[in-house]
């Protein structure tokens, strides 16, 4: 005995998923950009001494140098281009690390996920 199964509507379902998938990627990317700017602000707050880390402001050059940008889709980069940034972040043999970037990242992991979740719910 042979049973034949015919599934109807495969092309339209595939087209529907393709559209939704594209939309989901766009929304996720938007959330990641928003989260990037949020983290930039949080790092600056940390440098300004408004979080758990010690204040690292003298002239304001380091704080002003922190920038969020998107270098490739679905990523956000928060960075500083001043040469002494890594000394402040990781410490030296004469100074304790201040960990502005790393602590901010771990403190806000859940918030970044919330950004994405909130956007995805718009689907």
């Amino acid at each position: 005995m042979t049973i034949g199964i015919q599934v109807l509507g495969i092309p339209s379902t595939m087209a529907f998923l393709k559209t939704k998938n594209k939309k989901a990627l766009e929304l996720t990317n938007a959330a990641i950009i928003k989260a990037g700017f949020f983290i930039e602000a949080e790092v600056k707050e940390s440098i300004a001494g408004k979080r758990a880390e010690p204040k690292s402001v003298d002239t304001g050059r380091f704080m002003g140098s922190v920038k969020a940008s998107q270098k490739q889709p679905l990523t956000a980069t928060i960075e500083s281009n001043v040469e002494y940034a890594k000394h402040l972040e990781y410490g030296t043999s004469r100074m304790k690390p201040r960990s502005h970037f790393r602590n901010t990242a771990s403190r806000n992991e859940t918030k970044v996920k919330d950004f994405v979740e909130k956007e995805i719910k718009k689907l």
């Binding site: 990781y90 030296t92 043999s93 771990s106």
Partner: protein, 154 residues
């Protein structure tokens, strides 16, 4: 006390001490014959008194709990980031010590007796290695390496 396994109740201290012991035993100190007797080569914090470089410091960089073992389980998987920082007198020494430490950790995961996985440290990953060099000829060259491990707590 020799730490051979990472236990649930003391997983953080066990992880740091285990990595310290493994590196202390298996990485050759370039100053093995001349290092003062009261100084150590591998430490779990940056020493407050003066030191003789090179040294290696092992510290924890925080933990996260990415998942539980199941809906009705109190067991969890914990991701631990361990910072292994090489402090050396020059770039060559820094990079050689980094190479030795990485090579040891990478190639000693799966041994049935001495492997890290057997001690409950799974999924070894090097997530970043950043050079932090101090200015001048005599400036200390350091490399901050962040390793990640998964620990099963049950």
């Amino acid at each position: 006390m020799a730490i051979t396994k990472v236990y649930s109740a003391t997983f953080l201290a066990d992880t740091v001490n285990l990595i310290r012991n493994k590196l202390k035993t298996n990485i050759t100190d370039p100053l093995v014959t001349i290092r003062p007797g009261n100084e150590k080569f591998v430490l779990t914090s940056y020493p407050k008194r003066s030191v003789t470089y090179p040294i290696i410091t092992i510290t924890d960089r925080g933990i996260i709990q990415p998942t539980r073992l199941g809906m009705s389980s109190e067991g969890t998987v914990i991701s631990i980031t361990v910072e292994v920082r090489i402090w050396a007198r020059n770039v060559r020494e820094r990079d050689e010590l980094f190479g030795s430490a990485y090579q040891y950790l990478r190639t000693n995961q799966l041994d049935n007796v001495t492997g890290l996985a057997n001690s409950n440290l799974h999924d070894f990953t090097l997530s970043s290695a950043v050079n932090v060099d101090e200015e001048g000829e005599a400036g200390i060259r350091s490399k901050v390496c962040e390793y990640k491990f998964l620990v099963i707590i049950s």
